[in-house]
Amino acid sequence: MLTHILRRILIAVPLLLAMSFVTFIFMTVVYRGDPLAQYRLDPTTSEESLNRLKKQYHLDRPPIVRYFLWLGGILRGDLGFSLHQKQHVWPIIRSRIGPTLLLSLSAMCCAWLLAVPLGIQCAVHQGKFRDRFFSFLAFLGMAVPSFFFALLLLWGISVVGVLPLGGYQSPQFDSFSFGRKVADIAAHLILPTLVLGFGAMGGLQRIMRGNMLEVLRSQYVTTARAKGLSETRVVYWHALRTAINPMITIFGYELSGLLSGAALMEIVINWPGLGNLMLAAVRAQDQPLVMGNMLISGVLLILGNLVADILLALSDPRISYS
């Protein structure tokens, strides 16, 4: 197990290096933006302080040297300094990780809580109305573009007016008591969770249905029925445990898909997460921030995949990574 985790991390390192290198090359060599542009626009900035900034952030060195300086900084736990925001990159990113994880995880919970029971229902009532209806729902979930669905819901909410229209917190958030703070964030969370969860549910439900159908045909299920066990016990105790196993493999993929999908959702509903930050950084051509964001989101994804691997090994005794 440990060796497997180490191997996964070993694969991840060159990936992160390659990703950051490509981004870096693109941003410095292809585009050649001027990181000091906004300082130059300010007439009070003297030539001297410009030169000092240049020296301090190694902007006078060739790009390849700067890349390695950036890497060296990361090893020392320094993601760089955003000249655009006049702030270190890590604190900016750190404040955004929470909301992104919160959104992705709650969307994931929503997707799984919907997909597993609905998938089981479809399989148990195969070919009946329930199966068709839920399968249609799953198909819809997979096909409707998340941003369009979010906009539709926002329209609905703006007419009905029960939930907050996007964002993460109410303006008066800081004055709330702890209980109200939780309720406030939860109210803001409902819409994006529903949208992302509904989108992710479709595929999961289809797979769950397929697994369950296969398991229900197997001999030990027939045996369990022959023993005279109730149908509920057969389905939810004997069959479910086997049917849900392959789902855990998907967990990691699902998490990475959600992290990527959440980025667009964050932008649409103005959620202060990594995706939204990335867009702001891209618009401002803020290179250190883009690089840092890229790195952190990559790390999050790899962690997600790792968690999935570990969960799989824990749930399925046949799998041992050695």
Partner: protein
């Protein structure tokens, strides 16, 4: 008994005479959902190809005074005619001084009939034929039988021409229906071109990986895993950030296609690899090898053609990803830029909630994206059911 057996035997004999392709086609034709999807796609592609003819206006033809005009189409009965005739009035607006909302006025002195093959802005049909005819447009005005007197004086026709808005107008007073037609060009083609690139890359890399196996396979598979671990949307944003935000539409288009297929080939290559692995050990490959065919020849002539039907199914399922990627990026302002029309950048107007509330028709492009995605998904499902009954292309969704 014997009669039934003979009948069955005959029908089996009849079926056996068909090639697997013909059989698949027959199964596909019986799948009503897939056929419906196919006809939607044919319609959308037709709109894309003949966009400048079908659209009453060009994508950038604007009349600022009709900003956010609601959809308008009125019907009048002509005596002796069985069908009612559509027409429109000229419209303009001012702001309510108290609520600051738009108030719309109609010039009810003249009707503008909606006619087929009307004259309008000049365009080149299929890029060749210069013409000013459009599929629909407005004809010469007809005075209202009983003119209604309005207190507010209408602006003259020079300043405010009559406009035909099936689906309403956007912020700059451009026809949303026309822009949807032009936008179809981008959304409908980007998936095809993107998956064509993915196809070439995936076939080649997956084919080599599956055929040679061993170390080559190991290296390529690790590479695929790496590419599949990339957070796609973030990389797309990062690469996009390297280039100036305002580029000509054609360049952005190419850029989007290249970036998206760069991210997308890995999953497809894995499918191809799996198929090639199983085909590689078939007798006819051994026979080709025994006859002394070179490896490239075996891969290109014997192995890959046999993965083709599965490859096409996988690609059909992959097209929605490209459509969604383009519209997502265009919506947040990093894709196709404004005067040019794409379903994505038309939706960017809907990102402000006030706009959706006051002018819900700006959401229409989203409906078209949805339609295209559903159609490709359904067609892909149908193709799979028809041509891949064993489910070889089924894979873990990403």
């Amino acid at each position: 008994m014997s009669a039934a057996a003979t009948a069955r035997g005959q029908s089996i004999a009849g079926v056996q005479g068909l090639s697997p392709f013909r059989l698949g086609l027959r199964r596909l034709r019986r799948n009503r959902a897939a056929m419906a999807a196919a006809s939607i796609l044919v319609l959308l592609f037709t709109i894309a190809v003949f966009a400048d003819f079908i659209a009453p206006y060009t994508y950038d033809s604007e009349v600022r005074d009709t900003s956010y005009a609601p959809p308008q189409l009125r019907w009048s009965r002509v005596p002796g005619q069985w069908l009612p005739r559509p027409f429109v009035y000229r419209r303009w607006y001012d702001f309510d001084p108290e609520t600051n909302e738009r108030r719309w006025y109609e010039d009810r002195s003249r009707r503008y009939p909606v006619v087929l093959f009307a004259r309008g802005e000049e365009h080149r049909l299929l890029g060749v034929f210069r013409t000013d005819r459009h599929l629909v447009g407005l004809g010469a005005p007809i005075p209202e039988p009983v003119p209604l007197t309005t207190k507010i004086e209408a602006p003259d026709e020079e300043q405010l021409p009559p406009r035909l808005y099936f689906f309403g107008a956007d912020a700059r007073g451009r026809c949303i229906f026309s822009r949807l037609c032009y936008g179809a060009r981008i959304s409908m083609s980007i998936g095809l071109i993107g998956s064509a690139i993915t196809f070439l890359l995936g076939m080649l890399i997956g084919g080599v990986s599956g055929f040679y196996g061993g170390k080559v396979d190991l290296v390529i598979q690790r590479l695929c895993e790496m590419v599949m671990m990339i957070p796609g949307f973030y990389l797309m944003l990062a690469l996009r950030s390297a280039l100036p935000l305002h580029l000509p539409a054609t360049q952005v288009y190419l850029l989007l296609v290249v970036i998206m297929s760069f991210i997308g080939w890995a999953g497809f290559a894995r499918v191809v690899r799996g198929l090639v692995l199983s085909i590689r050990s078939r007798e006819y490959v051994l026979a080709a090898e025994a006859l002394g065919a070179s490896h490239p020849r075996i891969i290109l002539r014997h192995v890959l053609p046999n993965t083709l039907s599965y490859a096409i199914i996988s690609l059909t399922m992959a097209i929605p990803g490209y459509i969604l990627g383009e519209s997502g990026l265009s919506m947040i302002g990093l894709g196709i830029q404004d005067p040019e029309a794409s379903w994505g950048n038309m939706l960017s107007e809907a990102m402000a909630i006030q706009q959706i509330k006051d002018h819900p028709w700006v959401l229409l492009p989203g409906l078209f994206i949805f339609l295209a995605v559903v159609a490709f998904n359904m067609l892909g499902d149908g193709l799979r059911d028809a041509f891949d009954p064993q489910g070889l292309t089924r894979q873990v969704p990403t």
